[in-house]
């Protein structure tokens, strides 16, 4: 039978989801294996196979589509284990990537990190200064040649870099997106002199205005391609040996998948693709259940990731930051703070106030209750002390938790000094974490110009369902959803992804725009997107393309992505586009904000998608509300509004069926996650098995 397999390698766990043609779902988790990530991938598939009473070969031979999300590029960047890369750039501008617009020292930092000025550092350079060479050439803002490129100088520069041992060369000249001739000439020259060298060129990787970000993107691509290439090749080999007939496809940070071959040459497009599956999955699930605007919250062991789906599409950011480098590739926008099950609780020196995170106990030594060496109290310890977690049913009983150790840790490090009973200290830890999560949900939506109360909130990741009842109520979102299989939801998102090709180019212009010129730009971009998808094996009839423009008011910095009608473009369709720009600008930035200023269009984007047939999830008929058959136990759980520990019904997630309704207070346990229903709240199981949580009836 045809199967679709999606595997998501994370920092701690590798998650696997298998969908069969009937829409049946199997999930599995295996530890990630950073020394060779392909090992964890194969392990997770093997575990899924076991659940289906198959062996690895059995499941791989039956698989027609294998989708994979990998952190290999992110990991190579964070550990600085990429290739030795050289940079050839415009003479006089060699330092741009070191200067990093001076924001580099602060890029991606939290406010508290930023206030510690003496400890700020710039990025550990992916290209050291001695491997940067300036070459005589200059093109101006119109794309006109001011000084022709000195090819002899470029040849010397390349030869010197090769002599210095570079494995890749990045080429980035000023204004190359307006006129790529100089970059092209130099790239060809280097390729002909050094055929084995990887050459990556800015007008190919990211032909977008902003020389620092474009340069960083190009250099990162050169830096990461070697490692990524090796990893994907190895994975292809292992899977093929195991019996997989199809070539795996790789999740991109823009959302959507691309072929293994294309991904090897564009490693930078995989950076930060980790949380993308979840946001993409949320968009797909939102479409299914009629939620167009969604805040996604992914709570793991160490981080809390927030993404947005607006009008059915994941929100995209054009200049994402990766380990202090701003780049210029559109990616799904995810904000992260250090807050999760492993976050450490501590007392602030000087005031004795309780703080939670951002430091985490990690997998090792882990929370105190793991009993594997951790002695400091974490959020997981607090949840255990409060009775929210079952010590005998954590990860389905795979890991036994030690309540006494959790109790000791909280007592010694928090409760005694703060003069609180242990359970109140534990509750304080959870309350503080929940409040921080609510704050991040608010700031990350408000900061992008949206009101979170107009959004549905989805919670997933191992610890999402444990906390969502509190932070969703605090934010005041109208609908809260814990998706079915929430602990492996990201892998679901990967499974739901279609092949995608996003092609962009800058050509800044001021309104009134020339429709013919724009049409020309879009036709060329669309041709590139279609070609890329076809090369990935997508049939032409399955391809759809859509156009976007990044526009702004002249003199302003906010760029707004606006859909542009399919061609051929005329005065009328451009008027529609301009109106849509004003509407979107006003919605995000306030009405009448800059209405008198001229409008600029700067960057043009075509997104090509190859629609693939997917196994369809089928809604089940709704049964009765009574969750009684899923009630498996009762235990003492702490709820402050009820005055402390109270007998609380415990339901087993797998036994709940569509139509069931669970009223708070209650706890619902699955193998890989636990959900808390607060007093006054209510959770309904919908036809697809999602939990719809109504938090309006109760607050903490």
């Amino acid at each position: 039978m045809d199967r679709l397999v999606a595997v998501d390698s994370g920092g701690t766990f590798t998650d696997c989801v298998v969908l069969d043609a009937a829409g049946r779902v199997t999930t599995a988790k295996a530890p990630s294996t950073p020394s060779d990530f392909s090992e964890g991938v194969v392990q997770s598939v093997q575990r899924a196979a076991v659940t289906e009473d198959l062996d690895l070969g059995g499941i791989l031979r039956a698989t027609t589509s294998f989708c994979h999300g990998t952190t290999v590029a992110t990991n190579a960047l964070l550990t600085r284990s990429g290739s030795v890369v050289g940079l050839v750039t415009t003479k006089g501008h060699e330092d741009a990537i070191i200067v990093g617009r001076t924001i580099q020292k602060a890029a991606g930092l939290t406010e508290s990190e930023l206030s510690n000025l003496a400890q700020l550092e710039k990025a550990v350079p992916v290209v050291p200064r001695p491997l940067i060479r300036g070459v005589t050439e200059r093109i101006d803002y119109r794309g006109s040649v001011v000084v022709p490129v000195d090819v002899d100088e470029a040849a010397r520069a390349a030869d010197e870099l090769v002599d210095s041992g570079v494995e890749a060369i990045a080429v980035c000249f000023l204004w190359s997106f307006m006129n790529p001739d100089h970059e092209r000439a130099v790239a060809e020259l280097i390729r002909s002199r050094h055929p084995d060298l990887l050459v990556t060129v800015s007008h190919e990787v990211a032909p977008v205005i902003k020389e620092y970000e474009r340069c960083a993107t190009t250099v990162l691509n050169g830096y990461l391609s070697g490692t990524t290439h090796a990893y994907i090749s190895k994975l292809q080999e292992r899977l093929a040996d195991g019996g997989l007939g199809a070539d795996p496809v790789i999740m991109q940070s823009i959302g959507g998948v691309s072929s293994a071959e294309a991904s090897k040459g564009r490693a930078v497009a995989l950076l930060g693709s980790g949380p993308t599956g979840g946001v993409f999955g949320a968009a797909a699930l939102g479409r299914l259940i009629g939620a167009d605007n969604v805040v996604t919250t992914d709570v793991g062991g160490t981080s809390f990731d927030v993404g947005l789906v607006v009008d059915g599409e994941p929100l995209v950011v054009g200049t994402p930051v990766f380990d202090k480098y701003h780049t210029v590739l559109p990616v799904i926008d995810v904000t992260s703070i250090g807050a999760g099950g492993g976050s450490l609780a501590w007392l602030e020196p000087g005031t004795g106030l309780i703080k939670v995170g951002p430091q985490s106990a990690g997998a090792v030594p882990g929370p105190a209750c793991y009993g594997i060496g951790g002695t400091l109290p974490t959020v997981t310890d607090a949840n255990l002390v409060l009775g929210r977690l079952d010590p005998d049913y954590f990860l389905g009983g795979e890991r036994r938790l030690h309540t006494d150790l959790a109790d000791d840790a909280i007592r010694t490090h928090i409760a005694e000094a703060a003069g609180l009973p242990v359970e109140e200290a534990a509750m304080a830890i959870v309350d503080i974490l929940d409040a921080r999560m609510a704050d991040l949900v608010r700031t990350s939506t408000i900061g992008r110009g949206y009101d979170p109360r107009e959004f549905a909130l989805f919670a997933f990741g191992g610890a999402g369902p444990l906390h969502v009842g509190a932070y969703a109520a605090d934010v005041g979102t109208r609908l809260t959803v814990v998706p079915t299989n929430s602990a492996v939801f990201s892998a679901f998102g990967i499974a739901a992804s279609d092949p995608v090709a996003v092609v962009q180019a800058s050509d800044p212009m001021v309104a009134p725009f020339d429709p013919e010129r724009l049409e020309e730009i879009y036709v060329a971009l669309a041709a590139g997107a279609v070609e890329e998808l076809r090369a990935n094996g997508v049939a032409p009839e399955d391809i759809t393309t859509s156009r976007e423009a990044e526009m702004r008011y002249r003199g302003q910095v906010h760029e707004v992505r606006v859909p542009v009608p399919d061609g051929p473009l005329g005065a009328e369709s451009l008027a529609v586009t301009m109106e849509e720009f004003r509407r979107r600008y006003n919605r995000r930035y306030g009405s009448g904000a800059a209405a008198d200023a001229a409008i600029e269009a700067r960057t043009f984007v075509v997104r090509g998608v190859g629609r693939q047939a997917k196994p369809e999830l089928r809604p089940a008929a709704l049964g009765g509300e009574d969750p009684g058959p899923a009630l498996v136990a009762e235990r003492q759980v702490y709820f402050r509004p009820l005055g402390g520990f109270v007998p609380t019904p415990i339901y087993r997630r797998e036994l709940l069926v569509p139509g069931n309704a669970v009223g708070g207070h209650a706890v619902i346990e699955a193998v890989d996650t636990t959900m808390v229903i607060h007093p006054g709240q209510r959770a309904d199981v919908d036809a697809w098995g999602n939990m719809l949580l109504d938090t309006t009836g109760g607050r903490r």
Binding site: K91, L114, S115, Y553, G555
Partner: protein, 638 residues
């Protein structure tokens, strides 16, 4: 002795309504609300000033006007909001301050840092009670006055600078007053931009009013009031605890503002137990206009230095700090202007130098502390160069712009590492300089280079960060008719070194006139530096220059690096070599200042020659010291 704060200290005016957990949640929530206000303001404004230079800020004040939360933007602005609120409390009848009101002011003698930094503040009511204030401010590019932009060249008092207005109601019970808005926009050359920023500041205030109001409704007014007071008490307690960890003593510094003459800013800082005093009374008498700052700006400038140096691990709550800090000034000085002295450029002169000078004292305090030596920073970029350009752009439209590349100054050396090259400046850690492509697209210029300039950071065992040098020509037009170049630190480096470390370079701006740059470009060459070009050097020695640039003129400026730490003769020769390899230090500078002889062919250190050279420098130091004081006992190398 424990520094743990007794819980009951936090419960002020709240009838015991506030427990420590709720306090922690509310503290974080109030700070998030302030962030939201800043984000909202930036989004509505959309200007590069608010979104890249971050020359803006937001603050939350208690009912009395003390500022308990500020954004991570330019610190001094937030204190201006506080002074403005206090003035309103004093001058307006309580019945004239009501829900839905918003006030604005650009009066430096009330609180604004200078006339360009308009302060917009709004009271927050809950259940009919005034519980707090919210405020926002964004630097404006033009608010009228005889000269375009901020620097009122030729002004002799505040009357010949931009028009000023003390606090006035711009929104009355929720209704924008169109007459006041019209009067405000009438005076600027850029009514559209200024109008939009006004909306942005009001929008920022609206967020604070609504969200703090919600909080009071949800938690109770008493609880929120107790939390606000708790923040001030807790910050004061933490800050006093920090002071007790540091050694007692007195440190001083003398900084300079170049204008029609040189104006010293003199500060003596005394740290005793858990109090900190800054005494500026010996500073120079005020100038007629332009460079002075008022007392509120000077106090804000001191807080802007104390926060990054001493409060690196605590929430930035100025009111709490101010309870432990005393700032002494003398009216009639450059840092405490007496009416009607002008202040149009204050934030890059009087108050800037007050921050730098206070920072130098604080860095010396940290250098003397074993426990906090790791937080030591020598001076960050001690003088900001700004270029205001006005003219007709390549599309034939009038434009005005500020070129702020110099914000990429060098940061100060640390006790364990060098300062950051192009590290930025202390008072705005998030500031971003523009991409050259964005500048060239918008304005009629073409950059020949923008590089990190070697040797600009102060030398030391740990050196200061180097800064940028850039050269550009006009492009697409025949000339830039108006360029106003202004800076301090043109005679004397603002970034001094500490404990034997050397100072940075000075701010330098020159135009090479009537060069052969066009022929060179046409001939297929890009000049590496001005030395490659024919033409006449015009070297500007004044700190404020109004000039123009023609087709064949090449403008070059070098911004300011950071200060060094400890004697450069103690820097490991191999680390000097590393600096040479990455282009941070030249062979000549290595020899002259570090005493390290680099063989540039072999790319190695000549150890014996280095030893000799370092001995020679030490001897030279003894000799010159003896010329200044007691006769030297030795006359030759030992």
């Amino acid at each position: 002795m424990t520094d743990t704060l007794p819980t009951e200290d936090l419960v002020v005016g709240g009838n015991g309504a506030l427990d420590p957990v709720t306090f922690e949640i509310l503290r974080s929530r109030l700070s998030a609300i302030n962030d939201e206000a800043a984000m909202t303001m930036r989004l509505v404004s959309g200007s590069p000033v608010a979104n890249e230079a971050y020359d803006m800020n937001v603050g939350l004040m208690d009912a009395g006007g003390d500022c308990f939360a500020i954004g991570m933007y330019i610190t001094i602005h937030a204190l201006a909001l506080s002074s403005t609120v206090k003035d309103i409390r004093q001058r307006f009848a309580a019945t004239d301050i009501g829900p839905g009101d918003v006030f604005m002011s650009n009066d430096p003698y009330v609180g604004a840092c200078h006339q360009m930094d308009v302060a917009v503040v709004a009271p927050i009511f809950a259940g009919g009670e005034l519980v707090a204030w919210t405020g926002s401010t964004v630097h404006q590019i033009d608010l009228g006055g005889p000269v375009e932009g901020q620097v009122q060249l030729g002004a002799t008092s505040i009357w010949s600078e931009q028009p000023i207005f003390p606090p006035i109601k711009i929104v009355d019970a929720g209704e924008l007053r169109p007459d006041v808005e019209r009067g405000y926009l009438r005076r600027t050359r850029l009514p559209h931009l200024v109008g939009l920023d006004l909306k942005a500041m009001i929008a920022g205030c609206n967020v604070g009013v609504a969200r703090v109001g919600d909080l009071a409704e949800r938690y109770g007014t008493d609880v929120v009031l107790a939390a606000i007071e708790g923040i001030n008490v807790a910050t004061a307690a933490r800050f006093r605890a920090r002071l007790r960890e540091l050694p007692d003593g007195t440190w001083s510094h003398r900084g300079y503002i170049e204008y029609d003459e040189v104006y010293p800013v003199v500060v003596e800082m005394t740290k005793q137990g858990d109090s900190l005093t800054f005494d500026f009374t010996e500073s120079a008498d005020q100038a007629g206009a332009v460079i002075n700052c008022t007392r509120p700006a000077c106090v804000g400038a001191v807080v802007a230095a104390v926060l990054p140096y001493l409060c690196y691990d605590m929430a930035w709550s100025p009111a709490g700090l101010q309870r432990a800090i005393e700032v002494r000034t003398r009216e009639g000085t450059v840092v405490h202007a007496a009416w009607p002295a002008g202040t149009s450029k204050a934030t890059t002169t009087g108050s800037f130098m007050a921050t730098i000078s206070a920072g130098v004292c604080l860095s010396k305090l940290l250098a003397a502390s074993e426990g906090h030596l790791r937080q030591f920073m020598s001076t960050w970029m001690g003088g900001l160069y700004v270029e205001d350009m006005f003219g007709v752009d390549q599309r034939g439209e009038f434009f005005g712009a500020a070129i702020l590349d110099a914000m990429a100054g060098g940061s100060g050396a640390r006790s364990f590492a060098d300062g950051l090259d192009a590290g930025g400046f202390l008072d705005s850690p998030s500031a971003i300089i523009a991409n050259i492509e964005d500048i060239e697209y918008s304005y009629p210029v073409l950059y020949l280079s923008r590089r990190i300039q070697p040797d600009t950071g102060g030398a030391g065992k740990y050196r200061g960060g180097n800064t940028l040098a850039m050269t550009y020509i006009v492009h697409g037009v025949d000339q830039l008719p108006t360029k106003v170049l202004h800076a301090i630190g043109t005679y004397q480096p603002g970034s001094i070194g500490v404990a034997g470390g050397y100072p940075s370079n000075t701010n330098q701006f020159v135009i090479k006139r009537n060069t052969n740059v066009r022929e060179m470009l046409d001939g297929g060459a890009v000049p590496d530096d001005l030395g490659d070009l024919d033409g006449e050097m015009e070297i500007f020695t004044d700190s404020i220059v109004k000039t123009s640039q023609g087709r064949d003129d090449v403008h070059r400026y070098v911004a300011m690096g950071g200060g060094g730490y400890l004697d450069p003769l103690d820097r490991e020769p191999d680390r000097v070599l590393d600096d040479y390899v990455v282009g941070a230090v030249t062979v000549a500078h290595a020899r002259e200042t570090y005493g390290v002889i680099i063989d540039s062919d072999e790319v190695c250190v000549d150890a014996a020659a280095t030893e000799r050279r370092r001995r020679e420098i030490r001897h030279e130091r003894r000799r010159s010291a003896s010329l200044a004081g007691e006769p030297a006992r030795q006359t030759g190398p030992s």
